[in-house]
Homo-oligomer: 471 residues x 2
Amino acid sequence: MGILPGLSEERTDYGATQKVIEEISQRFGDRLTVARSVRERFGKDESFHPSVPPDAVVTVQSTEEVRDVVQSCAQHRVPVIAYGTGTALEGHVAALHGGICINLQEMKEVVAVHAEDLDVVVQPGVTRKQLNHYLRDTGLFFPIDPGADASLGGMAACRASGTNAVKYGTMRENVLALTVVLADGKVIKTSKRARKSAAGYDLTRLFVGSEGTLGIITEITLRLYGVPESIIAAVCVFPDVSSAVDTVIETIQYGVPVARIELMDDRMIQAINDYSGTNLDIAPTIFLEFHGTVEYAREQSEIVQQIAVENSGSNFNWTANSEERAKLWQARHDAAYACKALRPNGTIWATDVCVPISRLADCISETRQDIKESNIIAPIVGHVGDGNFHLTLVVDHNDRGEQARAEALHERMVMRALSMEGTCTGEHGIGHGKINFLLAEHGRDVVSVMQAIKQTLDPHNIMNPGKIVRR
Amino acid sequence: MGILPGLSEERTDYGATQKVIEEISQRFGDRLTVARSVRERFGKDESFHPSVPPDAVVTVQSTEEVRDVVQSCAQHRVPVIAYGTGTALEGHVAALHGGICINLQEMKEVVAVHAEDLDVVVQPGVTRKQLNHYLRDTGLFFPIDPGADASLGGMAACRASGTNAVKYGTMRENVLALTVVLADGKVIKTSKRARKSAAGYDLTRLFVGSEGTLGIITEITLRLYGVPESIIAAVCVFPDVSSAVDTVIETIQYGVPVARIELMDDRMIQAINDYSGTNLDIAPTIFLEFHGTVEYAREQSEIVQQIAVENSGSNFNWTANSEERAKLWQARHDAAYACKALRPNGTIWATDVCVPISRLADCISETRQDIKESNIIAPIVGHVGDGNFHLTLVVDHNDRGEQARAEALHERMVMRALSMEGTCTGEHGIGHGKINFLLAEHGRDVVSVMQAIKQTLDPHNIMNPGKIVRR
């Protein structure tokens, strides 16, 4: 299928883009730039996908400014690409058709905290860490943690999740309402601030995960949670991946509301030991976190320890001390760096799939066997409570043979997940990197419905064109 | 605004309907009927909205049969209305434009239970009680409980929720995937069975809550939960509604994962005492339920008792005994009957709104004052953990003055909720009864987006026309 299917699409007429730049240049002054170095940076995310620079980058400060840029682009049929922090992984910000990049990083106001309602209204450029820092004296926090310190607008647009989705859900469950600038420049608010509603089509969920292809998110209302009275972290090793996964399945079935439950395979643990100088047992390992009252967090930990022991788990270590907790989790947090360090000249290719949890052990085992046979370096880490796992391929892109083997391995992993009733991406999204897998997953009729919705809301295909669906 | 705005819409050409009936009559035999009494029944839900009978009712047994009926209707541009149990409350099944009612009650197979994955695949005619009966030996259950023993297809179509949404979410959070027959007869599956996915637009959530206006749901994959080890029920009375609501707010903020938290006002308690012969204190009362391990359910109960006492709550009674629990909850379950009994000749008009919880006490207090001034009988019961409450107006529809006062009271309540950043319906849906309030809530631009989606997926307006949006 190839990894860069979107790049064959044609770019927009450059003259039209110039008209937009002329129209908005006076208003934005030096917040509008066509400098090559800046455009290069804004055309690239954290993935291996190459930069495809926009024709200009404009830094906006309000919904009205976004609206005005979009209106100008709509008039001249010029693409618009929203940019948060550039931490996406499937080429989401690549300006495949050229056009204007709207940089939302200066829209970073926390508009309102409603402590009694456990919600907050933020501008899209606020990152999750900035939000939690802002909330530090309120006793509340926003739990969704995709690893990167992503912007909340980007997280909503990409339906992000991460380590503690198993307890708190993903952005799908935690966005209450969105302000969106549509392709014609109209500004809508998708929902009121009530916790639930049965009033019409769920436009909030339609825009969550739409990756900027249906509109640009300029304000987000998010659910918040009380900071738990007690947080316990734990770690446990297993003789094989199946035993670890069985422990996860039984934990979830038992109803233990585990806050995080992460698996790393022995290859990943080895990489972390090498990188961090730690001395972890080289074995499939799960890292856990329990949130609750002091009593209940301890009870959860004890229940899971018992389940783990029954599944041949050993060296179950737990702590409620926050420094020790940070130390215990350091290994998990080092995973990405450890992979990079495996091969200084290698390129990191991070990808993810998600399967029903009953198939997780099979999917991981078969994939590990495939990695071995493919002779590719690719440690595994997974948000296993959701059936979601990541492969971090470390590839020398200059070695054509290796590159081809990596692509084939990747494709087999995705197709394996699909054959197990899974999805081609649990949390990274489609961008242009997985656009063919979207079709493989859903089939022509479903993708046609998505295309029809795209056509309706963005008839001139100006909103982040070439992502999710082709036209 | 009036309560029957949809009824002014024009009906479809009767000749076209006859063609559909001819086309499908041989295949369906006596599963197709045009008998007036049957049509009358299938044109009416449990609300006060009058029956608007379809031209025929066809009882289907498979997705393929639904597809064939829809294809015939699509060809002749004849409306199709899906029917589950008829327990909706806003005229959802009224055949405003005539057409064919597809009765899904015989599609009641539990297709697959995936115990390890905590999910189940069901046909749309299975009711929630039937599902839980089926699951009784698995240690699993499906929690969503809208009161009525509704079909799961109807619950998905109407984004149902109910008493324990505060812990388990609504149908929005608990549907993993849907099989849907589209307006052109194509059959799609909206998602795979993975717990989470970032693969494209969230079509599952688009169909959840679409009330049969975008397609007909013929299979549903639902999340399941382990039956809790311990269930504790509790009841507590308060001097006023504000104290009760403050208790709810603090409970949620504390992070107590209360499974149910229901408020009844003194008027409702009085009605229940009269109906059931109970001897409950005539005061604002909250009913609670805690799910968890034995230790943790008790701890939750103790925490909430303490919060309640600090808010002037008294007579906090709790029990872990299942018979006593049933008795404690009987009052809540009797609420609907108790309202009916208040006035044997009155018509019950059940309506709901949902507001941010910080505004709940104000919204209820102002509404109670308004009820009093309007001289209308209208007890209040609420799923207060979500900010959702119900007004049960008991009205003599033959008394025009009273009817007008009830309508005005209803409209003021909805507009009050909207002014408090709430929604015109937390769980009953729009149907045709609240179609004008949808516009009041979202405004023209948002409703236009909904209309555009409707137009795209149902260009000939045959799927339950006249509901949610007008064309």
